[in-house]
């Protein structure tokens, strides 16, 4: 799901945003905070997502756009990292380092299938994810705005020439991504308590997954994400939970070497 968010951003700005993991975190944390302020769960979630959407837009406008023009990618890469650090540390300072529980009706009792069991909340995740993917695909193929986003991604100039305001579209894309991230955060928070540090690993992995999936292809990203998740579980179960990351990342490297454009990415002919 995170990877999906990266996909959305990339598709519009061709820019990777390292603050994303932290937006995801905000999704969870803000929900908790808002609830502690006495809002009912749905309201809190909505509020959190709204804030995330805004911050997504702001980050694009303030921290990505100025660098997006430049040739070297280091600029925004580092800036977003810097901003990410700010968000996370600010949360730590205000919200506290420790995780807090986010009780939802779906977490009370697990459903048991045979020996193993699972919470409704966790069943909810893939459902929402699937819905999101379908929705996104629909959005990109059917709606004018979606087409416009793809157009901008494909060729900013041409997009401008048919009357599309590329900058605005890019900002929207970041906002959208922010929303998705927050939603994900809100959905995951009950399972892994909402804490300031919950975003870091997820953000990084999401980014990697998005890249190896060949960031420009939504279903591809989702599939890769799911596969990678399952893969990790298998490694844990049959090889070693300790070496999980080592093995996982090694796999990623090899995949990238075999498919430089990512698994589902199209490879463009280099023009001389």
């Amino acid at each position: 799901m995170i990877a999906l968010g990266f996909y959305v951003m990339w598709s519009a700005a061709k820019a990777v945003n390292f603050t994303f993991g932290d937006i995801f975190m905000l999704g969870g944390v803000l929900t908790v905070v808002l609830r502690e302020m006495g809002l009912p769960l749905p309201m809190a979630a909505a509020g959190a997502i709204l804030i995330a959407v805004l911050s997504g837009a702001v980050i694009e406008r303030v921290f990505v756009r100025p660098f997006n023009r430049e040739t070297n990618a280091i600029g925004w890469m580092l800036t977003t990292i810097a901003v990410g650090t700010m968000i996370e540390s600010a949360t730590t300072a205000t919200y506290g380092a420790l995780g807090r529980a986010m009780p939802t009706p779906l977490m009370e009792a697990p459903v048991r299938i045979g020996g193993a069991g699972i919470y409704w909340q966790e069943l909810l995740l893939p459902v929402v994810l699937l819905a999101m993917t379908v929705a996104l695909e629909g959005f990109y193929r059917r709606t004018v705005l979606g087409r416009a986003m793809r157009a901008v991604a494909y060729n900013r100039v041409a997009a401008g020439l048919v009357g599309i305001d590329a900058d605005r579209i890019t900002m929207l894309a970041f906002a959208l991504a922010g929303g998705i991230g927050a939603l994900a955060g809100f959905l995951v928070a009950p399972i892994v308590q909402a804490s300031a540090s919950m975003g870091v690993v997820v953000g990084l992995k999401g980014f990697l997954v998005a890249i190896i999936a060949g960031i420009s292809n939504a279903p591809g990203v989702v599939i890769t994400g799911l596969v990678y998740g399952v893969l990790e579980k298998f490694i844990e179960a049959y090889l070693s939970s300790a070496a999980r990351d080592a093995i996982g990342f090694t796999l990623m490297i090899f995949i990238l070497l075999l498919f430089p454009q990512g698994l589902f990415g199209r490879r463009e002919v280099q023009k001389v």
Partner: protein, 616 residues
């Protein structure tokens, strides 16, 4: 020159300052500096060494590594393990602490063959994470999270190495020496053909390949050098802390290292030192912010990246140059200017009367569409052979096949009497004597005009890497010779006045000239020109005609892709006309002009005013 001397003086001063620091206490008669300050300075110096290495990678070769901390840590652990488990001496363990990361760096460079930019960054990130994961989990070997403690105190020549008064702070000075060596190495590499090649590869990969630079090779080199520096830093750190565990070498450290480079100004000489100093001091100061320090850290970075995206040194020196250098009027010389020494350039022509190039049944397909279709052509040595045809007729594609950029789907190219294997890379062809220009000029825009030409001379150097870094006599001799020839070539195309201008700032016409000069720096037997006259004024075109003729008369073979009919008429010995990737006519100028198919292809039926072409 004056600037350079001042630079060295500044460095000397800096070195003296650091060297004197431990004894400051005696001067001001206080218990200062304590081992705490010394340790800070030493850690700063170690960081600086690593950052210098990274700067070579990012600043020169333009490759972003977010896994540098892993290489740093690798060095540290190699040193620690060897001295702890294998009882190696300090010197021995240090050698490996440098060598092993360097090798790892070479391995890391391999991906650059296929992936770039973000993808490369991902690979380095992943590498860093793997490294940490392995260190954490392989408890039996690396001590896991408890790390490797109680390393034996390092000794060198029986001297115990510590940063204490009783040993005259010898370890402190050892690190200082290493730092100075690193600075020197950075300087020596940057201002040599290797540094130029790295920057060239970063700015225009295609042009570099066309100029005989093995891009993969040079990137591998850049990677392993920077990894070597990282390893050196790691080894020094291990022997300073006498304790290592993975937590010192995480992703955050990688980011921090990269930030130091950017902050200082990537690609600048002093950047690494400045960046390291600033960021390192900053982190110490930020402690005052208590729980908000990390936030301040992030804020600081964001601000810096905004205010000076080129880094401190980059931005400041940029400003200074803007103030100091008043734009003096530069006179454009006449060209071609066959001065003395030009004969060198055409010194090794292909045997007269031979077929320099034979193309047989060349076919080139991209996916569905066929760009070149069964083309046969033969180019005699010392002749000017023109390739014409409407846009998209496959002229450039054919040129790219000849210069090795595209592999023909079918067909065989024979060059200088030798059949080319499908695996011959552009840079190998270039070294054989094939030079080319590009349709839309591919200069190294951030390098000076002279440097551009010097890149062309890359493959003529004999002196190896060691010689270059140690600045042995042969290096100086060759460098001097190369510069002389470079200036001669600039004079030849009338740009000698612009030698120190950034190539990107040249007006379009001049860029074309420079590209030709750069190509000639290869001393080619065969010169491929892709629409050299495009965008030139008529005057310039006539000069260009003179130049091409002159080269051909001196025995160089020239293949020319061009639109300007009159130019073709003026220079060509032979003309091949392509349309839809196929040869529709081949012969002397007169023959081709008379050919109705040519007129049709060029002007279509609708072309009433097409007729005068025949008159031309």
């Amino acid at each position: 020159m004056k600037a350079k001397i001042a630079g060295w003086l500044a460095l000397l001063l800096l070195a003296v300052l650091i060297a004197g620091f431990p004894w400051l206490g005696d001067l001001i008669g206080e218990r200062f500096p304590t081992s705490y300050e010394l340790r800070l300075v030493m850690r700063a110096m170690i960081f600086a060494i690593v950052v210098i290495g990274l700067n070579l990678l990012v600043g020169l070769a333009g490759l972003i590594s977010l896994g540098q901390a892993a290489l740093y840590g690798l060095g540290a652990h190699v040193a620690a393990l060897l001295s702890l488990r294998a009882g190696f001496s300090f010197a021995e363990s240090m050698v490996f602490a440098i060598a092993i990361p360097a090798m790892m760096g070479a391995v890391l460079a391999f991906p650059t063959v296929r992936v770039r930019g973000v993808y490369l960054a991902v690979i380095t990130i992943a590498f860093g994470l793997i490294f940490v994961n392995v260190l954490r989990e392989w408890v039996s070997f690396t001590g896991g999270a408890s790390g490797l403690a109680n390393l034996p105190r390092p000794t060198l020549f029986g001297e115990q190495l510590t940063a204490l008064r009783r040993t005259n702070f010898n370890y402190y000075y050892l690190i200082l020496v290493c730092l100075l060596v690193a600075v020197w190495a950075q300087y020596a590499i940057t201002y040599s053909r290797y540094g130029r090649a790295m920057r060239a590869a970063a700015q225009s990969e295609n042009a570099s390949r066309a100029l005989g630079i093995n891009v993969v090779g040079i990137r591998t080199m850049a990677f392993s050098i920077s990894a070597g520096f990282a390893g050196l830093g790691g080894g020094l750190f291990a022997n300073l802390a006498l304790f290592v565990n993975y937590e010192t070498f995480t992703f955050n450290t990688s980011v921090q290292l990269l930030l130091m480079v950017i902050l200082g100004g990537s690609g600048t000489m002093a950047g690494p030192l400045v960046g390291t100093t600033l960021l390192f001091t900053a982190t110490q100061f930020l402690q005052g912010l208590g729980t908000w320090q990390t936030f301040g850290y992030g804020l600081l970075l964001a601000v810096v990246l905004f205010v000076m995206p080129k880094g401190v040194v980059g931005s400041i020196s940029g400003l200074l140059t803007r103030w100091t250098t008043r734009s003096r009027p530069r006179a454009t010389g006449t060209w071609p200017n066959w001065g003395p020494g030009m004969e060198k350039v055409t010194a090794r022509p292909d045997e007269a009367g031979q077929a320099t190039l034979i193309a047989q049944g060349i076919t080139l397909r991209f996916g569905g569409l066929t760009a070149v279709n069964g083309v046969n052509m033969e180019v005699r040595s010392g002749s000017v052979h023109a390739l014409i045809g409407p846009n998209g007729a496959g002229k450039s594609s054919l040129l790219n096949v000849i210069s090795g950029f595209y592999k023909p789907t079918e067909g065989q190219v024979t060059l200088f009497g030798a059949r080319l294997s499908a695996r011959t890379a552009p840079y190998q062809l270039a070294r054989l004597g094939v030079a080319r220009s590009f349709q839309n000029t591919e200069l190294f825009s951030q390098m000076t005009v002279l440097e551009n030409v010097l890149v062309g001379a890359h493959s003529h150097f004999q002196s190896g890497f060691a010689e270059t870094v140690l600045r042995l006599p042969r290096f100086h001799r060759e460098e001097r010779a190369a510069r002389a020839e470079g200036l001669r070539l600039l004079d030849f195309v009338g740009l000698s006045e612009f030698a120190d201008e950034a190539a990107g700032n040249l007006p379009f016409g001049h860029q074309r000239r420079l590209e030709i000069a750069r190509a000639l720096a290869l001393r080619p037997k065969l010169l491929l020109l892709d629409e050299p006259a495009a965008g030139l004024t008529h005057g310039e075109i006539d000069d260009l005609i003179g130049l091409i003729r002159g080269l051909a008369d001196r025995g160089m073979t020239v293949i020319l892709v061009e639109h300007h009919v009159d130019m073709i008429m003026a220079v060509s010995d032979r003309v091949t006309v392509l349309d839809y990737g196929e040869v529709i006519a081949d012969g002397t100028v007169a023959e081709v002009q008379a050919n109705p198919k040519v007129i049709e292809a060029y002007f279509g039926q609708g072309a009433k005013p097409g007729a005068p072409v025949l008159a031309a």
